[in-house]
């Protein structure tokens, strides 16, 4: 697949390059059941991905001491917020044998699952629920969207290395072992989904805007779910499983409508001077969402980052993934590179290719830095939105040249509501991707039934000693 997918999207965005001010919100706060005591701001969890690994010498800081003052080239854009970041060397990826010929199909799909697909059912999606979805299962019912999935390129890459389903190439989020979660690539749709559509009069309406329609839709869906259950009973087992996916997704729509209703009721009460739940209102100005007209990748990625921040700021969701770029086939015309990212990563130390890979990495981290800085600028409670978040940037390969996975590059930004001890570079964390995810979810307050993927422990060095 190719490089510049923005063309398609542009065609449908034509003529709406206007700046859309942040739509009006009933309340900028988060919903917690009223009986819970004065809520601490919730921890938001965000993941952003870049494929193909990095140039190691330009990514890892020279030493823990120099980390903050003279960061490596790749992290330059994060310089002012490094105090909010944690770098850890020594996190290994999932060993990919017996899929040795499929490094790129697995870099993204193992990234948040920390395990391999089922080799006997490789042509289907058969992997595991991903860390973001585990979190969404726990906190998703508290917000109008359980989770937000974003991507820069459509997830239609066609390549099936080792007979693996094509979906593994371009999906990081799995709702269950068999359900890949598609991501949104159109900023306009994301905006609509988060905050409703603009009608001709310029008014925003959201699904189930009038409480009455929302309630009616919810009751209608109840009946449809009942019918689907009847149908399910008549079907063979494999088909029943499909119906389970259907039921799960429709129930989540119902919950979404319910969450919106809840907020609307609260807003109405608030308007009447009755405060139901105690909240920390955000006093930061609203983010302005500008949907770019041109083809500039950075503009496009930044609007996706803005939307992500906005979704967190308004507590529309607490969990997000953003596939900043997809493995294979993507190129970077904005940087003046005509070759694909992938072909450059097999650089064999060729200086020119190394330079390009380093520039592509820096470019991706810049977009992440943009998002982090924005989050830092938003006041929330006693601190900032970033203080109450865990934002992880990373790649599923250490080094695209050799497909190494021993030292995956990760940047964790945000203090996770005071759980993560940032501003440090840990040089020798002996852990794996599963350990990292397990620890992060722990920091976000998500209880786990079992370790994630290949995890064997928590990485305690990351956290504050309690």
């Amino acid at each position: 697949m190719s490089s510049n997918h923005l063309i398609n999207r542009r065609t449908c965005l034509k003529g709406i390059g206007v700046a859309l001010a942040l739509p009006f919100f009933e309340s900028l706060g988060w919903a917690e059941p009223a009986k819970k005591k004065a809520a601490k701001p919730p921890v938001r969890l965000g993941f952003m991905y870049m494929p193909h690994g990095v140039i190691m010498e330009q990514f890892w800081p020279a030493s823990p001491e120099s980390f903050l003052t003279s960061p490596p080239p790749a992290l330059e854009s994060l310089r002012t917020v490094l105090g909010e970041c944690l770098l850890m060397k020594g996190i290994s990826g999932v060993p990919i044998s017996p899929f040795n010929g499929a490094p790129h199909a697995l870099e993204l799909s193992t990234w948040l699952t920390a395990r391999l697909p089922d080799a006997d059912r490789r042509s289907q999606i058969a992997i595991a629920i991903s860390a973001d979805q585990i979190a969404a299962n726990y906190v998703g019912h508290l917000t109008s969207l359980p989770s937000l999935e974003l991507a820069t390129m459509p997830q239609t890459h066609k390549e099936n290395q080792e007979g693996l389903n094509e979906g593994y190439y371009s999906h990081c989020s799995y709702r269950s072992a068999s359900q890949a979660v598609p991501a949104e690539t159109n900023p306009r749709s994301v905006l609509n989904r988060l905050f409703g559509r603009t009608d001709q009069a310029g008014q925003r309406s959201r699904p189930g805007q009038s409480t009455q329609t929302g309630a009616l839709d919810r009751k209608m869906l109840d009946l449809v779910i009942g019918g689907a259950k009847d149908l399910r009973r008549t079907l063979p087992q494999g088909d029943q499983h499909k119906l389970d996916e259907y039921l799960d997704s429709v129930r989540s729509v119902e919950r979404r409508i319910a969450a919106i209703e809840f907020r609307q009721k609260e807003a109405a009460l608030e308007k009447a001077g009755v405060s139901v739940t105690k909240r920390y209102a955000s006093d930061s100005p609203a983010i302005e969402i500008k949907i770019p007209l041109g083809d500039k990748r950075s503009d496009y990625m930044q609007v996706m980052c803005d939307l992500n921040v906005l979704a967190f700021q308004t507590d529309t969701t607490r969990v997000s993934t953003y596939i900043g770029s997809t493995p294979n086939g993507v190129s970077y015309p904005e940087l003046g590179f005509k070759d694909t990212h992938h072909s450059q990563t097999h650089h064999a130390s060729d200086a020119e290719k190394v330079r390009k890979v380093a520039a592509i990495t820096a470019f991706n981290i810049e977009q992440f830095a943009y998002m982090i800085k924005k989050m830092q600028s938003i006041r929330e409670g006693e601190g900032t939105l970033l203080d109450n978040s865990i934002m992880m940037w990373g790649s599923g390969l250490e080094d695209g040249n050799k497909h190494a996975r021993e030292n995956l590059p990760f940047i964790v930004a945000g203090r996770g509501g005071g759980t993560i001890n940032t501003g440090r570079f840990l040089t020798d964390v002996r852990g794996n991707q599963g350990d990292l995810l397990t620890t992060l979810l722990g920091c976000a307050g998500v209880p786990l039934d079992r370790p994630i993927g290949i995890a064997t422990k928590q990485i305690t060095e990351m956290t504050h000693r309690v």
Binding site: S3, P98, P182, T185, R193, Y246
Partner: protein
């Protein structure tokens, strides 16, 4: 590097022993393969393989596990690797104590060709399928006359074999929103006269003396017959009437309550998925698709939309599954303009043209690569594909033909801009035998190139995989791609000479000696498919090469002739790819036997496309489903 060879070696291996002509033969062949496995293969594995590939499996390959049920699809990959490595004498490794005799080695290789006979007759995994984004949009269009673009916010999807048949909350939300939008368009606003669609779907205003619920039930019955693509059960109608009641309880008028019912239909699994009509008898394992399901499967395959009235009527009368009728319907559907869906869904994917619209090209170097050019390239391939299908030509025509479709824009790449002008695509007879057929088609030559130059390797892989159906393993990691042209060391070499560097490295040579020559044979076409006699650097193009088996060529024309002569391979590849697309799953196990049989009938009719498609539609896995 032994491990990287398997697919190749398998692909180049000859098909196994004679194909079974009948069930009786199949039983005999099954028994024979099983006997040999017990008597000869098991001892072979035990002596030479299981020491390493046993319970602590090296390379993830465990032959101990295969002993019980060697025909299981789970082991297919291991047998393929085993075949390749044993054939190449890479296994057992040179330092192993025991080495098989040449006869033993041959016995093992022969037996692997017979594994397929161990697969029990099986239509393969069948799971109810969600409509793709495209199918869903077309179906809404057919039902309500709405623009299929109403679905544009749904995530894009891969069709066919790699189809992700899953559903996420995001999609469900969008289905609900789209359903709202549809209902808004169908229903006239309060007080306004009903829209035409509304009258068609809901009937006129409620006649005096009629009962609202009975009327709603009747509307539900007719709506679901088309929207569910099968008659509803009474229980399903109860649910819908329940939704109607709900609307009335919320003070909706009659039409608005029917609108709510319509919305419920549009978010129901019976609409979003192709579901069977009725339950299968308890205890059955394999059952035929009911006629409604078959009508949907056929219609979505060839038209990417719901069955039309004729198909629906045939399903109602229970006749659609009769082979003569089914065949006639295939012919009818293929001749209709809507069968372009088969190209948009399957053809474009097969030929790799899906990415043409968005692929990056170095526009400084190739200013001709405009949006118009891209779309003309796509249309050329589409019209060519459609002509072969509608005119019922041989599948070999894809490689070897004397015509194509051009407009003024595209004619520039053919050097025919003087004779072909204007924006309209038209059929053009070609006199240059280097052109004509997919190997010399600009869209394909462009998508198998880098943004700024050709790639003999990519083209070679494309021809092997997409045209001949062979499997090319990925390059091993840590192999440098070709250096840049200005690199001092290799700067004086032509692209061909540099590509040939692959073959000086034994790691690369095994595959590249097969891949590269095919690509070299197409080097006369530049990265956007124009003819050239010299490279950019000035060196003359050398399009000579030799394929395994000693077939030599010196121009695209000759390469084309060699490939066109491999009729059975071309046709089989197309059959396999289309069958996998039709079934929305990769082929495995018993499918191989199915394809063997299809190929017999298809070959008898000179590989004609309509025959090929008809054989697929009437095939065992297309018409049957496994329910356990």
């Amino acid at each position: 590097m032994a491990v990287l060879l398997p697919g190749f070696a398998l692909a180049l291996a000859q098909p196994g022993p004679a194909q079974p002509a009948s069930e009786g033969d199949a039983v005999a062949l099954h028994a024979e393969a099983k006997k040999i496995f017990g008597a000869q293969v098991t001892p072979f594995l035990k002596s030479y393989c299981i020491k390493c590939h046993g319970s602590r499996p090296k390379g993830g390959i465990n032959f101990q596990a295969t002993l019980k049920d060697p025909g299981s699809p789970a082991f297919r990959g291991w047998w393929k690797q085993g075949l390749a490595n044993v054939k190449a004498h890479d296994m057992p490794p040179d330092d192993a104590e025991n080495q098989p005799t040449p006869e033993e080695r041959q016995m093992f290789l022969d037996w692997i060709g017979q594994i397929k006979f161990l697969s029990p007759q099986d239509p393969g995994q069948f799971v109810i399928r969600r409509l793709t984004k495209v199918e869903y949009g077309n179906t809404l269009h057919d039902l309500f006359g709405v623009d299929p673009a109403i679905t544009r916010e749904l995530p894009d999807e891969v069709f066919g074999q790699g189809y992700l048949n899953t559903l996420s909350p995001l999609q469900s939300e969008q289905y609900l929103e789209i359903a709202n939008a549809v209902v808004d368009r169908v229903l006239a606003p309060d007080g306004a006269p009903p829209t035409a669609v509304q009258v068609r779907l809901f009937g006129g205003p409620l006649a005096p003396g009629t009962y609202a619920r009975a009327a709603a039930r009747a509307v539900g019955r007719s709506l679901t017959r088309s929207a569910y693509r099968r008659p509803p059960s009474e229980a399903e109608l109860d649910v819908l009437v329940g939704v109607f009641d709900l609307g009335r309880e919320h003070q909706l008028g009659h039409a608005a309550a029917l609108g709510l019912m319509l919305k419920a239909i549009l978010v129901s699994p019976q609409f979003l998925y192709i579901t069977p009509s009725g339950e299968v008898p308890a205890g059955s394992t394999i059952v035929p698709l009911d006629d409604y399901q078959l009508a949907s499967r056929l219609s979505y395959l060839l038209w990417a939309t719901m069955p039309d009235a004729e198909l629906a009527a045939l399903a109602d009368s229970g006749k659609l599954h009769e082979p003569a009728i089914l065949k006639e319907q295939v012919r009818r559907l293929l001749h209709a303009p809507r069968s372009r869906a088969l190209f948009d869904g399957f053809g474009a994917q097969w030929l790799g043209l899906g990415e043409l619209e968005t692929k990056t090209f170095d526009t400084d170097k190739f200013p001709l690569m405009t949006a118009d050019m891209r779309s003309a390239m796509y249309d050329e391939a589409r019209l060519f594909f459609e002509s072969i299908v509608r005119e019922n030509r041989s599948a070999v025509t894809f490689v070897d033909s004397d015509y194509t479709f051009l407009n003024g824009t595209l004619a520039q790449l053919y050097g025919l801009e003087k004779t072909v002008t204007g924006p309209a695509m038209r059929k053009v007879t070609l006199t240059d035998a280097n052109r004509g057929g997919i190997l010399g088609m600009p869209g394909i030559l462009a998508t198998t190139s880098f943004p700024n130059r050709t790639s003999a390797v990519k083209r070679g892989v494309w021809v092997l995989e997409q045209v001949l159906g062979e499997h090319v393993p990925p390059a091993p990691p840590n192999v440098p791609a070709l250096q840049k042209e200005d690199d001092a060391q290799v700067g004086t070499l032509t692209l061909r000479q540099r590509t040939e560097l692959h073959r000086t490295d034994p790691t690369c040579a095994n595959c590249h000696k097969i891949l590269d020559p095919i690509g070299f044979g197409l080097e006369n076409f530049d990265a956007i498919g124009r003819w050239r006699d010299a490279e950019e650097a000035g060196g003359a193009i050398d399009a000579t090469g030799e394929l395994p088996g000693g077939k030599r060529f010196s121009s695209p024309k000759e390469l084309k002739a060699i490939i066109a002569a491999r009729q059975p391979d071309l046709a089989r590849n197309l059959t396999e790819k289309l069958l996998a697309y039709a079934l929305c799953r990769p082929l495995e196990g018993y499918d191989e036997i199915v394809v063997d049989r299809l190929m017999e009938s298809i070959a008898k009719d000179d590989y004609r496309m309509q025959t090929l498609i008809t054989e697929i539609v009437t095939s065992y896995p297309f018409t049957q489903r496994r329910v356990q």
